[in-house]
């Protein structure tokens, strides 16, 4: 995984490069927005970690430029600004995630893993958590090396939960993945699908957070 880190604070950048390298990522660090835009166009890059307060230009403009070039590249905004407006405009401009400073390193790593899993599932490499393997190429589920039948909707739900392993997904966000706008959703549909899924998965694989949503924990 090639990460492009765009951050002007040297102390933070150096520490992050060390952490991410230690975690097995290949990190390319830049201080300026313009350099970042050029690198994205020329070098192979899998994830961009972007600080908003850059010396030469606003991070959001860098994001715009990146999105002008490619819609696929995941961008994680990392910033000291934390107002809702900043967050909303960042996500509106096509950022995939937003993390406010000061962040927990584990949180950053968890979010990078989500990108990683998404990218591997889109490359038909499948999702692995413990003995559960979700093959995103042929829509099949294997638990402890045994194939298990899974419906299309159950597959979509499980894929979302496994891609976001370690994060709670609210019922609303799961519904939005299953149904398009305007579809009538019965109030307990998600519960029913989760109920069926649980029978097919190891005990405690999907945890319920009562009133909030569901979570799959990465091993």
């Amino acid at each position: 995984m090639n990460i492009l880190l765009v951050e002007d604070d040297v102390a933070l950048a150096n520490a992050l490069v060390k952490t991410l390298t230690h975690e097995g990522f290949v990190v390319n660090h830049l201080k300026h927005g313009q350099q970042a835009i050029n690198v994205v166009k020329t070098e192979p890059t899998d994830i961009v970690i972007l600080d908003l307060g850059l010396p030469d230009m606003d991070g959001l403009d860098v994001l715009k430029a990146i999105r002008g070039h490619t819609a696929e590249l995941p961008v994680l905004i990392l910033t000291a600004r934390s107002s809702v407006n900043d967050k909303v405009s960042g996500l509106d401009l096509g950022a995939d995630d937003y993390l406010a400073k000061p962040f927990e390193v584990d949180e950053l790593l968890a979010r990078l893993r989500v990108f990683e899993r998404r990218s591997s599932s889109s490359k038909h490499a499948g999702l692995h958590i413990g003995e559960v393997v979700l093959d995103t190429a042929c829509y099949s589920l294997t638990v402890a090396n045994e194939a298990v039948d899974i419906s299309r909707r159950e597959f979509t739900l499980l894929k979302a939960l496994m891609e976001n392993a370690g994060r709670v997904l609210t019922r609303e966000s799961l519904e939005s993945k299953l149904y398009s706008w305007g579809d009538e959703v019965a109030s307990n549909t998600i519960e029913v699908h989760i109920h069926h899924l649980r029978k097919k998965l190891p005990k405690g694989f999907i945890k319920t957070l009562r009133g909030v949503g569901y979570i799959v924990k990465p091993v």
Binding site: A11, A15, K18, R210, V212
Partner: protein, 441 residues
């Protein structure tokens, strides 16, 4: 303390009374002189009328019927015989010496008399007219008194009118004091007075100027705190990452790094809390108020903080209607919920239970966060909303990381959302129960 109204009333009344009596005294004296001259003139006229009208030289007494005139007359011959007199006149000479023309005062029969003597050369006789001086004064007093009476009676009326007008005149001052007295501690808005009098204008301007400067100072202080905290976010992040790196190296025992980790954690926490306390200024937030679903925000906050509950093996649940609309600032409400939920997380022991409830009532939306922790003793409940106050002081019994700003932030945000915060004992879980009652829309 002296009241301006009473002071003005008393001094004005004293002045009016003094001036009135002084002028009455002077008036009395000049009236006396005037009446004296008038009465003297009467005696003189009477004498000359008698001289011209009476030519009869036979001695007699003039009966004055039932009338009791204050004046009398005597007619003496040059050789000292009393020719005629009025009924009220003495029979003797009132003087010990020879009569001479002009006015004379005399003591006779226990009274003081004023007399006029006129010589009639034709009939060789003296005509004496006179009256008792005390009677004269009695009349003069009556005249003066009747002039004084209305003036004296007008003084209470004047007092009443002064009382009213002074009160009316002081109305703007009262309005100013009421406005200042009713100002809430954090209200630094300018004062406005209807029908502003000229004299109060400088006071109002200085007061408003003072309030403005105070407000500016507060805003600067808040802005400074927010800016400082903001600037510290990146270095704190760097510290955290460096610490993480240190902890992943094998040659340092984790125990050695734990105090360092706690220190960095604590510093980061205080900075975030200061930021969330100061970046939600009521004015700013009021501009960004919108219709929000409190349930949605609660879900998001709990989902984001889930790992903290997981690591303490606590059970957290949300019991809420899917949609509970309130008018609010999203960022501020996130901060409020985060503080409540994380407080519960911190102070509830491992394996404890936390429950978040949101209920729509008739006019309110009730947010309620309960836990199975130790709760807050009744005597501490009022103080925990103060900034930097922690139960038990710095040596917080729980030994839990905190800076004493959480509930101050909750209170601050609730206040500008028009919400009421309450603390109680959770009937269900036995720990603390925090309620925040928002007005519904």
């Amino acid at each position: 303390m002296r009241s301006i109204r009473t002071f003005l009333l008393l001094t004005l009344l004293a002045t009016i009374t003094a001036v009135t009596f002084l002028s009455l005294l002077l008036g009395y004296r000049s009236s006396l002189a005037k009446t004296d001259a008038l009465f003297d003139e009467r005696l003189k006229n009477l004498a000359s009328i008698i001289v011209h009208a009476n030519h009869d030289l036979t001695p007699r007494v003039e009966k004055t019927l039932d009338l009791k005139p204050s004046v009398f007359f005597q007619i003496w011959s040059h050789d000292g015989v009393l020719i005629a007199r009025s009924g009220n006149a003495p029979e003797q000479q009132m003087f010990n010496r020879q009569l001479s023309e002009g006015f004379h005062d005399a003591n006779y029969a226990d009274f003081r008399w004023r007399t006029y003597v006129l010589q009639d050369m034709l009939f060789k006789r003296w005509v004496v007219t006179g009256e008792r001086i005390d009677l004269r004064y009695e009349i003069a007093d009556k005249i003066v008194l009747s002039a004084i009476k209305p003036t004296v009676m007008a003084i209470p009326l004047a007092a009443f009118i002064i009382w009213l007008t002074v009160g009316f005149g002081l109305k703007p001052l009262r309005e100013l004091t009421t406005q200042l007295a009713n100002k809430k501690a954090d209200d630094l808005s300018a004062i406005l007075i209807k029908q502003q009098p000229k004299e109060l204008e400088p006071l109002r301007i200085t007061t408003n100027d003072l309030l403005q400067r105070l407000n500016d100072a507060f805003v600067r202080e808040q802005q400074f705190s927010a800016d400082a905290a903001h600037e510290l976010r990146t270095p704190i992040s760097a510290l955290k990452v460096q610490l993480h790196n240190l902890m992943s190296t094998k040659d340092i025992a984790d125990g050695d790094l734990e105090p360092l980790r706690e220190g960095v954690e604590r510093m980061g926490h205080v900075i975030e809390q200061i930021l969330s306390l100061y970046q939600h200024s009521p004015d700013q937030a009021a501009q960004q108020m919108e219709r929000l679903n409190l349930t949605g925000i609660a879900k998001m906050v709990i989902a984001n903080e889930y790992m903290r509950f997981e690591s303490k093996q606590q059970r957290i649940s949300l019991n809420a209607e899917p949609v509970c609309l309130i008018k609010g600032n999203e960022f501020a409400l996130e901060s409020l919920l985060q503080n409540l939920v994380l407080n519960a997380n911190k102070y509830t022991p491992a394996k404890g239970v936390i429950s978040v409830n949101i209920k729509s009532k008739e006019n309110t939306v009730m947010l309620c966060v309960e836990d199975s922790g130790p709760g807050i003793a009744e005597e501490d409940r009022a103080r925990v909303f103060e900034r930097f106050y922690r139960v038990g002081g710095d040596r917080h019994a729980s030994g839990i990381l905190g800076c004493g700003l959480g509930l101050a932030i909750v209170k601050h945000i609730s206040t500008f959302h028009g919400a009421k915060v309450g603390l109680a004992v959770s009937a269900e879980l036995g720990g603390l129960k925090v309620t925040v009652e928002f007005p519904a829309i």
